[in-house]
């Protein structure tokens, strides 16, 4: 495989992932509205297109036609930069997450991951930390007290939950003895999913990823009743749409990451024993990955429409007094698994 082929294949993979992400994000918004409606005995959007399926595009057109308002006291450059950072982080994190096994196409072995790098998990943690800058800068540059409070809350919340997130990931890395997402998925063959082996780590990571994506019950940075719109109070038009898309793209990233680290990635148990023809196993595995991600996305939305928001002090005490010790306990548990059960 020469360099041109590698570049070409990577480009095609990036294109596919980007298109799929954009489509998923737009339909995620649609399903968010639908599921919220169902949970409240309503019907949800059903006017634009068949069952309202064109609703996301109508929303985007509406946002495009809106006037782009920048407050007089805003720091213009940072105000424009913040949504770009949010979108950049949201779409570039996906590069290291494998969505299928190696496939053989026209005699070339293609790994179904954009960049198979050996520090993948570190890359993800680093990029999601940059995501905090988007929100903090948005809050600070808007020149509004509500935005500033939202940004400050967000940075405090993200730092608190990143710690328990990092320690939960530590357990996964210990078991797989690698930082490569591909190797982590390979280590979870059969039913050896990390969610089964280290349930405490799974729960702490799940809760932390809710906090990292600013979803309810942890959406303190944009708490509507007290902060108007939080960090995006002063944003309108496509800049607002940038934050909006980034939030949903982050949800997809978080789901894909949970699936990769804890739910066996693209591994589907017992699929190898069915004796299917060559291409089918890989197809089922990719479909299995997408199915797991879809289930988690539903879970994200479902939780949002079931649970009330935390109070700020409750959020902090949950992060530092519960999640942090639990993730430490998880590391000890993993150490016991390795030392005693020789996993």
């Amino acid at each position: 495989m020469n360099i041109l082929q590698i570049i070409g294949i990577t480009f095609v993979k990036i294109l596919i992932i980007f298109t799929v992400m954009m489509l998923t994000v737009s339909y995620l918004v649609y399903f968010e509205r639908k599921i919220s409606a169902w949970a409240q005995n309503r019907l949800g959007p059903n006017r634009v297109g068949w069952f309202g399926l064109l609703q996301p595009f109508a929303d985007v057109f509406k946002l495009l036609l809106k006037e782009d308002i920048v407050p007089t006291h805003a720091h213009k450059k940072l105000h424009a930069l913040a949504p770009m950072i949010a979108l950049f982080v949201a779409f570039s994190t996906y590069a290291v997450i494998p969505f299928g096994p190696d496939i053989k196409l026209f005699g070339i072995v293609i790994p179904l991951v954009v960049a198979d790098i050996n520090i993948g998990v570190l890359y993800i943690l680093a990029l999601t930390s940059i995501g905090v800058y988007a929100i903090t800068l948005a809050g600070w540059s808007s020149g509004s007290k509500y935005s500033l409070l939202g940004g400050v809350r967000s940075s405090a919340q993200m730092i608190s939950y990143e710690i328990s997130m990092g320690f939960s990931v530590g357990g996964v890395i210990l078991l797989a003895s690698s930082l490569r997402p591909v190797a982590i998925v390979a280590a979870q063959h059969g039913w050896m999913w990390n969610a089964v082996l280290q349930p405490i780590g799974f729960i702490t990571f799940l809760v932390s990823s809710f906090a990292e994506t600013n979803r309810l019950p942890f959406d303190l940075p944009e708490a509507e009743p007290e902060l108007v719109g939080g960090y995006h109070t002063e944003y309108s038009s496509m800049k607002f749409a940038g934050f909006f898309l980034a939030e949903y793209a982050n949800m997809i990233i978080a789901s894909a990451l949970i699936v990769t680290l804890y739910l066996g990635g693209w591994q589907v148990p017992l699929v190898g024993r069915l004796g299917l023809p060559a291409g089918w196993v890989e197809l089922i595995q990719v479909a299995g990955f997408l199915f797991k991600v879809a289930c988690l996305l539903f879970f994200f939305i479902w939780v949002r429409w079931s649970l009330p928001r935390f109070r700020y002090d409750q959020l902090m005490s949950l992060g530092w007094k519960v999640m942090f010790p639990l993730s430490l306990i998880n590391i000890i548990w993993v150490a016991i698994l390795i030392m005693v059960f020789k996993l």
Partner: protein, 162 residues
């Protein structure tokens, strides 16, 4: 220490069972029947107790019951009703030449109906009255007169409960 009502039990304190309870409730709700009226296709049909647009009752002979006493106009809080009386050879001796309700002003309080001695003005079930200019909002006798058969529900309701 005395147990207070707000003290949580152990299972409530670890929070996860309570979360699962809440989640199961919303999941069950998702499959329940929906209450939404899909409005332009499927309309809400009110009962007799509904206070919609005030209308004048028209008898079978095509004439209004109204005797133009002006009580409705007098009691109307936003001064939406204008009545001009005239004499007639009929048994009731007086009738309104002009009876106009300004639907921009009307607040659907139902005082006109309550004060009317002849049961001549009642609230209908009509709640769809959109207009694009102020002239259209002045409802004259042509729009107000409604056959008594269409107002049966409301008149029955008034006789029973008032």
């Amino acid at each position: 220490m005395k147990k207070r009502l707000k003290d949580l039990t152990f299972w409530e304190k670890i929070y996860i069972p309570e979360i699962l309870k809440g989640l199961s409730l919303t999941l069950r709700t998702m499959f329940k029947p929906k209450y939404t009226f899909e409005y332009p296709e499927e309309k809400f049909i009110p009962t007799g107790s509904y206070r919609g647009r005030p209308v004048l009752v028209m008898e079978e002979n095509g004439k209004e019951r109204c005797v133009a006493c002006g009580l409705c106009s007098r009691v109307c809080p936003p001064l939406a009703i204008e009545v001009q009386a005239a004499e007639t050879t009929d048994e009731k001796e007086r009738y309104p030449v002009k009876f106009e309700i300004n639907m921009i002003r009307c607040i659907f309080c139902g005082f006109c109906e309550e004060v009317c001695p002849e049961e001549a003005i009642v609230m209908s079930k009509d709640y769809e009255m959109a207009f694009s200019n102020r002239e259209d909002a002045l409802y004259g006798k042509d729009k107000l007169l409604t056959p008594v058969s269409e107002l049966k529900d409301r008149i029955d309701f008034l006789r029973k409960y008032r």
